[in-house]
């Protein structure tokens, strides 16, 4: 075809070759520039650095101020080290973690214990903390050490704080209506039935964000099938189409009519507010639910562990996610980073931090509990007395499985509880694909 411009006179033509040559020259310059500077790069570690960088995911104002204060306290007693804090929004932090660890991570960086830590430790993206644990090991219980240990038996994580999942309720409401804490599933159903008759939403529920429902699944699963099954199932060693998994969903289906309707369009904060406003009777969630309560009403919040389903397992397991810190693979200031981590493992900064976040508890077992609220004391006791501690579905499994298969599977189930078989088939297929 003939292409020509609107003008009548022929236009000056110019060789494509000239153009190519210029472009190639440009590319060459850029490439050599890159190589040259590549040779010079990465030598910034020389000299004795006094700066430690700290990756923080506590982006809410109050916790952020609290962790900043803890870090400042470290600076004051570290003998001249200074800490640069890099705060990122909590969810953004998680979305970026992969690139972050492979890019230029901060020396000490916030993360979660368990499988979710191992996933990165296994791939050599974080620093070995075994030596440090030789020093700080006495601060922690065995369960916490276990949760900080990678698949190779080395430690890669320093726990900071922890919270528990359970059935939260308002004491005043329960007193007024004369409700008692249910010990078994049947008692729970009876209680929920009664609440419904009293005009309450028995169990507040929200699943718009995709993850809160995982907490319900976890509780039902380890109450029904025990701790080990929880671990194996989420590690891809058990089949999602197993009868035992189906039992879990059957139980959930039985409870679903007592859950708040329209959960898929609601965020957990809104569900928590119905609990706070005494419109719902209880809420299966983490202790952070208390952050939706005004200070004056925090005292009124209480919880009980999810009731027994299978007598073999009783209530021997508690879900208590651990938040803490990892070390960068190549920290720019290794000594300083280890000092900071050692400090963070001590009781002092943990307790100082908890003043701003009174729904969590310290992980250091020597921490003085005198300053705890009754709720915190109960959380601490529950964790201490538990035979097994789980993290959370999305912390105990492959992150890809959690964010895709598990999230969407649970949504499908909630949408249509009669569809369990096809939901489980979908989850099983994806699990096989991921845990090859």
């Amino acid at each position: 075809m003939v292409l020509h411009t609107p003008g009548s006179t022929p236009l000056p033509h110019f060789g494509r070759r000239t153009m190519l040559r210029v472009m190639l020259a440009g590319a060459g310059v850029a490439a050599t520039g890159g190589l040259l500077s590549a040779c010079g790069g990465g030598s910034s570690t020389g000299g004795e650095s006094k700066v430690v960088t700290f990756g923080n995911n506590l982006s809410d104002q109050v916790p952020k101020d609290a962790i900043t204060a803890a870090v400042k306290a470290f600076e004051a007693q570290s003998g001249g080290l200074s800490v640069t804090i890099n705060t990122k929004q909590h969810e953004q932090y998680q979305e970026q973690i992969n690139n972050y660890l492979q890019g230029k991570p901060d020396d000490v960086l916030a993360w979660f214990a368990g499988y979710r830590m191992r996933f990165f430790a296994d791939q050599g993206l974080t620093g070995d903390l075994t030596d440090l644990w030789g020093k700080i090991g006495g601060n922690y219980s065995d369960a916490l050490k276990q949760a900080s240990t990678g698949t190779d038996g080395k430690q890669y994580f320093v726990p900071f704080t922890q919270y528990a999942w359970g059935m939260f309720y308002r004491k005043s409401v329960w007193q007024e209506k004369g409700y008692a804490v249910p010990k078994t599933l049947d008692e729970l159903v009876a209680l929920a039935t009664k609440m419904k008759a009293d005009g309450l939403i028995p169990i507040a529920f929200a699943q718009k964000q995709g993850w809160p429902g995982m907490g319900t699944f976890d509780q039902l699963n380890f109450r029904t099938n025990g701790y080990q099954f929880h671990v194996d199932l989420l590690a891809g060693k058990e089949d999602w189409q197993d009868k035992r998994v189906k039992d879990v969903f059957d139980t959930w289906k039985r409870l679903l009519p007592f859950h708040q309707e329209n959960a898929l369009g609601r965020e957990w904060q809104e569900a928590a507010q119905t609990l706070q406003q005494k419109k719902s009777g209880m809420y299966l969630l983490g202790a952070f639910v208390g952050q939706q309560f005004p200070d004056a009403e925090k005292e009124d919040l209480d919880f009980f562990p999810f009731p027994e389903i299978n007598p073999t397992h009783g209530t021997d397991t508690v879900e208590a996610p651990i938040d803490g810190y990892m070390l960068a693979k190549k920290p720019s200031n290794s000594d300083g980073a280890l000092k900071l981590m050692e400090y963070l493992s001590s009781a002092e900064p943990q307790l100082a931090y908890l003043k701003a976040d009174p729904t969590a508890v310290a992980t250091n077992q020597k921490a003085d509990q005198a300053g705890y609220s009754p709720l915190q004391k109960k959380v601490a006791d529950t964790i201490k007395n538990a035979k097994h501690i789980t993290q959370f579905l999305d912390r105990d499994t492959d992150p890809g499985f959690a964010s895709e298969a598990a999230t969407n599977g649970l949504i499908e189930f909630i949408k249509d509880p009669n569809n369990i078989d096809s939901v489980l088939k979908g989850m099983a297929d994806q699990a096989k694909n991921i845990f090859k």
């Binding site: 292409l3 020509h4 411009t5 609107p6 003008g7 006179t9 022929p10 236009l11 000056p12 033509h13 110019f14 494509r16 890159g34 500077s37 590549a38 010079g40 790069g41 910034s44 982006s59 809410d60 104002q61 109050v62 916790p63 890099n86 705060t87 990122k88 929004q89 909590h90 969810e91 953004q92 979305e95 970026q96 690139n99 972050y100 492979q102 890019g103 230029k104 965020e267 904060q269 507010q273 706070q276 406003q277 952070f288 952050q291 939706q292 005004p294």
Partner: protein, 300 residues
Amino acid sequence: MTATLERPSVPVKKTRPTTPARVALHVFLILTCLMTLAPLLWAVYASLRTYDDTSVNGYFSIAKSLTFENFAKAWEIGDLPHFYWNTFLITVPALLITLVLSSMVAFAVSRFSFKFNIGLLMLFTAGNLLPQQVIVTPLWRLYRLIELPAWMSESESLIDSPLGVILIHIAFQMGFCTFVLSNYMKTIPYELTEAARVDGASVFRQYWQLTLPLCRPVLAALATLEFTWIYNDFLWALVLIQDGDKMPVTSALQNLKGTFFTDNNLIAAGSLLVALPTLVVFFVLQRQFVGGLTLGSTKG
């Protein structure tokens, strides 16, 4: 420059009498405008209320009191001045360079006949149409490979550097600007540059002194549009910036959305503050915007 915007105006008629049709038209337009503004006003209303009020009474209620507290709080907690500055450092260079580069391409392809003109235009336009996600992974790898001296980027690579965000905005947005500008430049009489060339004007002068001034309206229109696009971008910064302090304001707004505690009234106030610069730019440049598109679309 608005002088050049005079368009063949509709012959001025005598002030129309108020006919029922006119009234109906106004009523319809007012209703449509109200419906369009309603969601926004609803957010403004929420932003003026306190958390204590809405958490007890819900949003669908008469406010107990109205206050600007949330705005002050969002300004302070969100550290907005700092993040506005980050955005400024990304948006302005990206915008200017995009306009310069794409006007050069548009000039070259609309004034000279190369065999690859159409191919090039298609390349640019199609590039702009690509979903951003398509290039994220390789781009990130590429950025990590390109090492820079410390004076250009603190992080010594394009990762975690405003420069990297600027570059990808330029590379991406050039497509749309080239498309619009080349369409526009084709409407400029060819005789104009031809005459200049006969007079011995260099190519660069034909571009810089003859063509660009004529494009001012369309450049203003594009600047307005691109400003809102680059300003509102969310994904590039999320992928390419690792340091929370370097985030542009649109991404930093996320910091207001608490992880464990959400105050929607505060978020509403923060979001409105973040939207403010785009609103201002838009209203200031409104005339250019409409004018520019008017000229640009006369002939394709």
